[in-house]
Amino acid sequence: MAVLVVADHDNTSLKDNTHKTVTAAKALSGDIDILVAGQGVDGVAAEAAKIEGVRKVLVAESPELGKQIAEAQADAVLALAGGYDAILIPATGVGKNFAPRVAAKLDVAPISEIIEVVSNDTFVRPIYAGNALETIQSSDAKKVITVRATAFKAAGEGGSAAIEKVGAGAGAPKTHFVSEEIVKSDRPELAAAKIVVSGGRAMGSAEEFQRVIEPLADKLGAAVGASRAAVDAGYAPNDYQVGQTGKVVAPQLYVAVGISGAIQHLAGMKDSKVIVAINKEADAPIFQVADYGLVADYKTAIPELMDALTAVGK
């Protein structure tokens, strides 16, 4: 059995999700290749070659792959699919955008966001915003799987896989890239951060969100997240949203400030190691999952928290 893992990257650097997806792949097979599809990705391919237990790294390049156009990405994978029994793709926005296309073209059922490999054909995945776990068995000979990276440990480094160029596929003749607005930030990436500080509707404005949440995040070296309510109201950008329909995070420490704890929000953070909730209502549902709850108005609690962190050398 051979497995193809599709790398998660931004053309410049390889993302940790790839290492975690390799760990899921190892539960299926020892023959693991990685596809790096993008544009100008020599550096990414070199990083992928270092992942422990990888046989080879395949590199497909085109301008459309560089822009992560789903049609082109699916095509690049399909060109290689014949040689593999399973194709594993990190369940990021990008991965979820093209994985189902690959499955449809292969006439197989996609298996979405697995959190556990039970056997070669059986997997566990969350449904209903993580309120139930489904164990499913696939009868398809070839499997197309997206992997919830937070559920797997990252594969180590120290490998030295061969790097090979492959064709880019037919591309995306009917889809044209117009523009993008990507927020550049020096903070750690939300999905991979060890600490996440999230703000909710209680912030009341974008200015307040920046004044309260961002300095706390910076003090802790944390990524910034938000509830849907905060994003909808324009307090925080859309890619900050944590939850069922936003990003799923599982950091060492998750700090929720002025977030009530709706099931859709919990779906995105309840696997965090330690959860801290700061909320002025003692009966806010977030306290039901919080390891440490502070019932307080954030307006006084956050400045005190900043001071207390300074006092311990943060």
Partner: protein
């Protein structure tokens, strides 16, 4: 231009689902069912495109049990023109949903299929991409803005890290994200009017698609429960606990 909107009947997003003790699934008896919120957003967008004079007809289709008719009626009350119900009592997989929708597209010849990015029960986030692949139409998922200009659609998408704008040659498949619009509540007169709008009743066999194929659910279980921890008195105690007890800072 005709727009086709697939809509799914799911457990209402406010309901806390319960896993059945025999682990065969979640308890759907006597729980409130509603239109999937993302499908509602897709219907709203299609109706707005009609109100702007861009679309001439909005057709909704649902695959599911007889009660999925209520979901179609909801869409009709929001302003869609007519419905198609492909009735089945088996659980339909994303691949089969996509195949059925492809057959409906062949019959209806829409210029746009506008649908939800994800159903909040299966959480697969798959059908739109699969339909686009099967049709060889271009796709734009997670749309937060849609502009139609003649034979092209310009779509702004919510992506990891920010926003991306694509231009698609029509016909195309577009899936709706949360911030595309805020769906309207249907007014009473419109609910009454919707009762008279036509719904075509079909079966999967009418489209030559076999159901119940590739995936078998072995069991459905409860996730490990998190229990509430302790309340701290103040920020200093919180920091002390995080440092010494939890060891995370």
């Amino acid at each position: 231009m005709k727009i086709l909107v697939p809509v799914k009947r799911v457990i209402d997003y406010n309901v806390k689902v319960r896993v059945k003790p025999d682990q065969t699934g979640v308890d759907l008896a006597n729980v409130k069912m509603s239109m999937n919120p993302f499908c509602e957003i897709a219907v709203e967008e299609a109706v707005r495109l009609k109100e702007k004079g861009v679309a001439t007809e909005v057709v909704v289709v649902s695959i599911g049990p007889a009660q999925a008719q209520e979901t179609i009626r909801t869409a009709l009350a929001m302003g869609a023109d007519r419905g198609v119900l492909i009735q089945t009592d088996v659980d339909v997989e994303p691949l089969e949903v996509a195949k059925l929708l492809k057959a409906v597209v062949a019959e209806e010849a829409p210029q746009i299929v506008l649908m939800g990015k994800q159903a909040i029960d299966g959480d697969n986030n798959a059908v739109g991409q699969m339909l686009s692949a099967l049709l060889d139409w271009p796709q734009a998922t997670y749309a937060s803005k849609i502009e139609i200009d003649g034979a092209k659609a310009k779509v702004t998408r919510e992506v990891d890290g920010g926003l991306q704008t694509l231009e698609l040659d029509l016909p195309a498949v577009i899936t709706a994200d949360l911030r595309l619009n805020e769906p309207r509540y249907a007014s009473l007169p419109n609910i009454m009017k919707a009762k008279k709008k036509p719904i075509d009743a079909k079966a999967a066999a009418d489209y030559g698609v076999a159901l119940g194929g590739h995936l078998k659910v072995l069991k459905v279980t409860e996730p490990p429960k998190r229990t509430a921890g302790v309340k701290v008195e103040n920020a200093a105690e919180l920091v002390a606990k995080l440092k010494t007890e939890a060891g995370v800072i």
